[in-house]
Amino acid sequence: MNYFPDEVIEHIFDFISSHKDRNSISLVSKSWHKIERCSRKRVFIGNCYAINPERLIERFPSLRSLTLKGKPHFADFNLVPHEWGGFVHPWIVALAKARVGLQELRLKRMVVSDESLELLSRSFASFKSLVLVSCEGFTTDGLASVAANCRHLRELDLQENEIEDHRGQWLNCFPESSTALTSLNFSCLKGETNLAALERLVARSPNLESLKVNRAVPLDALTRLMSCAPQLVDLGVGSYENEPDQESFMKLMAAIKKCTELRSLSGFSEVAPLCLSAFYPICQNLTSLNLSYAAEIQGNHLIRFIQFCKRLQRLWILDSIGDKGLEVGASTCKELQELRVFPSDLHDEEDNDTAVTEIGLVAISAGCPKLHSILYFCKQMTNAALITVAKNCPNFIRFRLCILEPNKPDHTTSQSLDEGFGAIVQACKGLRRLSVSGLLTDKVFLYIGMYAEQLEMLSIAFAGDTDKGMLYVLNGCKKMRKLEIRDSPFGNAALLADVDKYRTMRSLWMSSCEVTLGGCKRLARNAPWLNVEIINENENNDLMERNEEDEREKVDRLYLYRTVVGARKDAPPCVTIL
């Protein structure tokens, strides 16, 4: 390979797109490192504080597509203070200054401002795609600038963001000349939508494949939208709590029938059963269905719908579907690969006998041979069920089980669920992501350390007995990248046992555990290449000024991550970087 001219090598590298592979290539030799970095178009940064924008640009001058992730995963559950960080602005400023030809930006759990969006829209002439997931800090004004200024915008995908809706005319800001849209998702906007502007935009976007509207788009508007975009592949609908009248229903059904390319359906924050039935004609084509926001719809309607979905590969649903519904799914959806069952009753207030149990999980595992990813919220579980699931589905890549009540044992034997999860990790040799719950001792972690060789991400809550538990995991799981632990009795001994382990991991989160300030300080001293962040929302934030006694004080929240650029400068007062 060394005798090939650079251009040939670069051409060969063009075929290699996976980040892991490209990272490996760059380690082969100096010349390969140079060719690789100069030709690299897509970069993924899993932790925005692991590196800074200047170094990124220096290494990858031809950057076209950037993915950035900010806050740690537990920020999703309000465990990270609002002002923690993850600002995208410095990145956009640096990219703009260096005149990088940015075309795509994907952000997850970052803070985005209208100012950032405005700067983005003005700085990158070929900008094509903006995907924001679980971000916050901006308003529809920022969206207006993107719409107005990004002449070549193809994709605007807003997933589950907190956006202040100024009820403005942002949809009107797409110029008449804008006809390149392929994907538009504004389902998370809470306010009213300018329907006329939306309809005009859809009508002049012949390449639009994915459209996800928000709650405020009524049925007749949806019908019109579908009629002028029968090429849609992916549709997210609004909120339809009232039954449509006969005429509206017929029109809707006619429009739906024309959408022969439709493969993915979502939205339905409320849906009257008759409305749902209008979609029956295209059910058999669906590969992806998300009904997980339709809290009011009863299990039997869901079941009737699922019965038609023979080609379903991905299903997101609420636990109101019940074990019966999952049994129907198991016999109908033989192509199912990914299942997510979310809880409809978040405060355990109702004595809900219709929600899913271990029976549904076993049924789905038995009926769907291609199942590889599952997220399952339920009220009860048994070891026997998990052992059966492991036998039925050895191909799990992601297995996330959340039993709603912490520390809940096997409800038939009152024992811990160590054996059940042990069976899962032993059988599923390709398991990359695992979330455990229920009553668990150190033993489950012994199993995980022993068998989960490919495990990259592990989420632990209210589990384990001693430091040994965490040590089993740190010592055993060679591929561990992200470990997040809450409310478990792991302390300094586990934290400090193998400091170099954290070189191979992206991050570690520990909250309400037994680690102390002294332990964290020692870690920070021994590992200068780590940022060890202590998050403390109490009044007295001057951790450093307290006396020696407080070294024994337990740390409320610890977040550590490897970085090449040292302590960040934008940390708020409640965060201390040791």
Binding site: E162, C188, D465
Partner: protein, 191 residues
Amino acid sequence: MENVGVCDEFVNLKATELRLGLPGTEDGGEEERQKVSCCKSNKRAFPETEKDIESTGKTETASPPKAQIVGWPPVRSYRKNNIQTKKNESEGQGMYVKVSMDGAPYLRKIDLTVYKQYPELMKLLENMFKFSVGKYCEREGYKDSEFVPTYEDKDGDWMLVGDVPWEMFVSSCKRLRIMKGSEAKGLGCGV
């Protein structure tokens, strides 16, 4: 006198109460939002006793809480907010907010979920407090009104009622204040 004695006794009784539970685990306390750290309860000897602990805990706390654990179940806030508001509406729990009026001696409380739009709410307020509010216009607010309805939102800012869509108002309104028109001159002069 006797009442005080009973109170003290009750307090003391609690401390000496013999029940299955590890020292330091709280019960009841519905006034404060509890952050339950189940660290200590992880040190269990036998599953049976653990079960007992749980059931005693349940009977101590009346209805509904079960202590609310921060960030549990692990469901994204976005999803929680979307499902929650619907549940509240359907169960008729209502969203009660305090309403104060400048010059009135005491406050009132109203349930925002009862109304579908602004006009209904305004009519109720006008009836409740015996005033009239005049016409709302986007640019100048409630121009020339003797009284102006305002509300405090989630961020602690005082806003003019009517500026944002109804749903956004209901989900972000913490309380209402009917201001004197003369004081409200600064508000409503659009941004």
